[in-house]
Symmetry: C2
Subunit: 428 residues, 2 copies
C-alpha cells in the first residue's frame, strides 16, 4: 500500500481519526463567510463520533453557486495557488480553490489511488485527457509525478502521436476517458498494430459514468486492465475513490473524506447496501472545506471487507443522478437499476422504455423490453416464461414487480440524441 | 529579487559558481551513454575557468535525435517523472526528461523569471496557452504555483470563457502567445469591454519570436505591460531568460546555464555585442544535462549592466535562425538585422527584398525597399537623400554598404504564405 498505516487502519482508529479531523474541519470552515453563518449554532466539540455528522447541514451545488467566487474560502485569496472552475458560459459557474498544501494532499491521494490498482514508480503513464480547467488532467498528472511514474503529458487528441509515444516510451499506464478508449483501440488496429502487442497494462478510466459491460469491452479490445475511479471537482477532482486490483467497488479514502449515502428526498441515511445519493465531506482540505456536499450521484456501499486488506469502504459504480430518481409506492427507483438488470440478461436487446402510469387509484410501473430476434419465438409459453423472468429479476433489484411487455427488435421508437428512457404518464 | 543572493551575485562569484557547477555537470554527464563517449578524453578538473567551456564539444539537435529516446540520460529511466517530446509525427522526434529535482529547479527558475517582471504572490495568473507536450503550458503553470500566484489553468481557446474568468477572478497576469494576443484584444472589444478596464497588468509573452513593434502593439491594444522571454525544451522549456521590468533584453540565469554566442560557421565566440548563434549549457540539470547545445537561435549579448541590479547578462530578442544566415565578403548577415533596421525608419513601407548578386568578381548585397506614399515624392534630391540614409543605417548594422533601391508602395511582389525576403542570385 502507498500509505500502509492509513490504508489498512482498523475501523475504530479510522473513525476516531475522522472525528478528530471533522472537528478541526468545522473549526476551520467557520473562517469562510458561508460556513460562518451556516455553522453558527454548532460547537464542534459537541460531536461524539463521526456518525454525528448527520447533525450538520448539507451543502448543495446551489450554495456553491451563490458563494461564487470567494464565499467558501477560509483564508485570503493570496494564499491560494490554483483554481478550477466549471465552464460557466451559461448560468453561474462554480469554482474550487486550492492552497499549496491542498495540492500536495490531492497529489498524495491520487498517487495512493494509482498505487492501489497496481501502478508503480517504474511505470510510464500517458495522460490522454485534456488539461486545463478540467480537474482530471492536472489531477492525474500531479498524482502520477508524485508516485514517481514517468509522466507523458500527451493531452487529448492526435491519435497517431499518442500511438507513437506509447510505443516509443513503453507506456504501461494510460489515463483515458472511457468513451474514447474504444475509439482509440480501433485506431490502433487501423494503424496496423495489434492491441495485444502494445506495452500498456493498466487503464485508468473514470471521468464519465460507464457500465461494467463497457469496462469489460475496453479490457477485451485493448488487452488491458481497466480501473474505475470516482471524483468531482468539489472534492478536489479525481482521487476520491478508486478501485484496487480486485476491481470490486471503489475504496473511498475515509481518512480524507466522510462518505454518506442518503435518501435524496428525506436526507436520511439509507440502509447499508442500498442505493442512494452520495454525500461527501472533506477532512483534509484547508482552503475550501466542504461539509456534507450533495453530489447528486447515486451509488451504494459495498458490504464487507475487500480482499486487498484496505479497510476503507467501497462504493459501487455510479448508478445515475439523484435527479433521475422516481418514487413509486413510496419506493425510490433509479432508471440505471432497471437498465443494469435488463442488460445483464442475454435475451434482452438494446432498447427499453420505462412508463409510469395511473391505473385506478394506484400508480404502476411498466417496462417495455426489446427482445433479441432469436428469443422472440412463436412460442407463447417461452415468451411468458421470459416475461416472468424479467419481472422477477427486476423485482429483486427494485423491490416492486413491474408489468413487463416484450417487444420485437427495433420496435421501440428511438429519438434523435439522448435516449428517452422514462415516460411519466401518472395523473397528478 | 526572488533569490537575492543568486540574482545579484558579483560576476567573479557567479563565474566561479559556474565553473564549479560545470565541473559537476561534466562528471554527471559522463553517466549518459552519449556523453560517456563524447567526453571520454576530458577531465573536468582541467578546466581553469568557466571560459574553458570552449574546450568542450558542441551538442546538436541531430545528436539529440540520434540518442532518442534514452541516450542522453544519466540515470535509470525509473528516476524520471516527466518527459516532453517534439511532435515526431514526421522524422525522428526529440525528447527531454526530468527528474523530480529537475522539475523543482525548473519551477524555481520560472518563478524567478515572473518575479523579475513584477509578478507577486498576490497576483492571479491565467495560463492561456495549451498544456500537454508543449513545455510552455506546464512550465508557466508550475512556476506560477511556485511563486504562489493563484493560477487559472484556462488552456488555449474559448475566448468567451477566457474573458469571463479574467473578469471574475481579477486576473492580473496573462500568459499568452504573442500572435494570439492581438486577436484576443479584438475579441475583448467585440464582447463589449474596454481593454483599458480589464484587471490585467502584465502579459508574459514568448514562445514565438516577435519584434519590438509587435510587443508595443500588444501593449497599446491591451493596455498591459508585455514581457518577452526565451526558452527551449532542450533547456527545460521557458525560464531560460526573461525580461525584467526595464524591458531591455532578457537576463539569462547564469547560475543555471552558461550562455555563449558563436559564429555559426566557425564555432568561435563572436565579439561582445555581435549577433551570433546562442549556445547553451545546463548547470543544474541532473537527469539530462546538455553541454554546449547549438540552439540555432540568433541573438547578441546586450553590453553593460541592467538598472535592475541583476548581474546576469542579457540577451537581445531572437533575431532569426542561424540557418537563415548569409555570408557576404566574409561577413555574417542575418535577414532579421536588415528587417529591424528598415522597420525602425518612418519612411519605410511594409515590404522589402534582399538580393545577393554577383557583379564581376565580387558579390553584392542589394536591398529593395518600399517607401511610404507620402515620402515617395517627385524630388530626386529627397529620394537620393533617403536612399543614402537607408544605406548608411544598414551599414551601421551589418558593416557592409548595400545598394539600396527605392520602390513604390506595393510594387514588390508578395507571394502567398510566408514572405520571401532573400533571393540568392550569386554565381557559385
Amino acid at each position: 500500500m502507498y500509505y500502509d498505516k492509513a490504508e489498512n487502519m482498523d475501523r475504530a482508529s479510522l473513525e476516531s481519526l475522522q472525528l478528530e479531523r471533522l472537528k478541526s474541519t468545522l473549526e476551520n470552515a467557520k473562517n469562510a463567510p458561508f460556513y460562518k453563518e451556516q455553522l453558527a449554532g454548532i460547537n464542534p466539540e459537541d460531536l461524539q463520533s463521526a456518525a454525528d455528522i448527520t447533525k450538520l447541514p448539507f451543502t448543495t451545488k446551489d450554495d456553491l453557486r451563490s458563494q461564487y467566487p470567494y464565499g467558501m474560502l477560509t483564508r485570503s485569496k493570496d494564499e491560494f495557488v490554483r483554481l478550477h472552475a466549471s465552464s460557466g458560459t451559461t448560468g453561474t459557474p462554480t469554482a474550487v480553490f486550492y492552497t499549496q498544501k491542498d495540492l500536495d494532499t490531492w497529489a498524495d491521494l491520487m498517487a495512493r489511488c494509482m498505487y492501489a490498482c497496481g501502478c508503480r514508480k517504474s511505470d510510464v503513464l500517458q495522460n490522454m485527457s485534456g488539461y486545463g480547467l478540467f480537474t482530471g488532467g492536472l489531477g492525474i498528472h500531479y498524482g502520477s509525478e508524485r508516485l514517481g511514474m514517468l509522466t507523458v503529458p500527451a493531452g487529448a487528441g492526435n491519435t497517431k502521436r499518442q500511438i507513437k509515444l506509447i510505443r516509443d516510451f513503453n507506456v504501461s499506464v494510460l489515463h483515458i476517458i472511457p468513451s474514447f478508449a474504444l475509439y482509440f483501440a480501433q485506431k490502433v488496429e487501423e494503424a496496423g498494430f495489434d492491441t495485444a502487442d502494445m506495452p500498456w497494462k493498466i487503464a485508468l478510466i473514470g471521468a464519465e459514468p460507464h457500465t461494467e459491460e463497457a469496462r469489460r469491452k475496453i479490457e477485451e479490445m485493448m488487452h488491458i486492465k481497466a480501473y474505475n475511479s470516482y471524483g468531482l471537482s468539489e472534492m478536489n477532482g479525481p482521487g476520491v475513490a478508486f478501485e484496487c486490483v480486485h476491481q470490486n467497488g471503489m475504496h473511498v479514502w475515509e481518512d480524507a473524506y466522510i462518505a454518506e449515502i442518503i435518501d435524496p428526498t428525506t436526507g436520511e441515511h439509507v440502509k447499508e447496501g442500498e442505493i442512494g445519493e452520495l454525500v461527501m465531506t472533506t477532512l483534509t482540505r484547508e482552503g475550501m472545506p466542504i461539509i456534507r456536499y450533495r453530489t447528486r450521484d447515486l451509488t451504494r456501499f459495498i458490504p464487507g471487507q475487500c480482499e486487498c486488506g484496505r479497510t476503507h469502504r467501497r462504493i459501487d459504480r455510479i448508478a445515475g443522478r439523484a435527479d433521475d430518481m422516481m418514487i413509486l409506492k413510496g419506493v425510490n427507483i433509479y432508471p440505471m437499476q432497471i437498465e443494469q438488470c435488463l442488460m445483464a440478461m442475454p435475451e434482452v436487446g438494446q432498447n427499453y422504455l420505462i412508463e409510469l402510469v395511473t391505473e385506478g387509484i394506484t400508480d404502476q410501473l411498466k417496462v417495455k423490453v426489446e427482445v433479441k430476434d432469436q428469443f422472440f419465438v412463436e412460442d407463447m409459453r417461452a415468451l411468458q416464461g421470459l416475461q416472468k423472468k424479467i419481472a422477477k429479476n427486476l423485482c429483486n433489484e427494485i423491490l416492486i414487480t413491474p408489468r413487463v411487455e416484450l417487444c420485437q427488435h427495433d420496435s421501440i421508437p428511438k429519438g434523435e440524441g439522448k435516449a428517452v428512457r422514462v415516460v411519466d404518464k401518472r395523473e397528478k
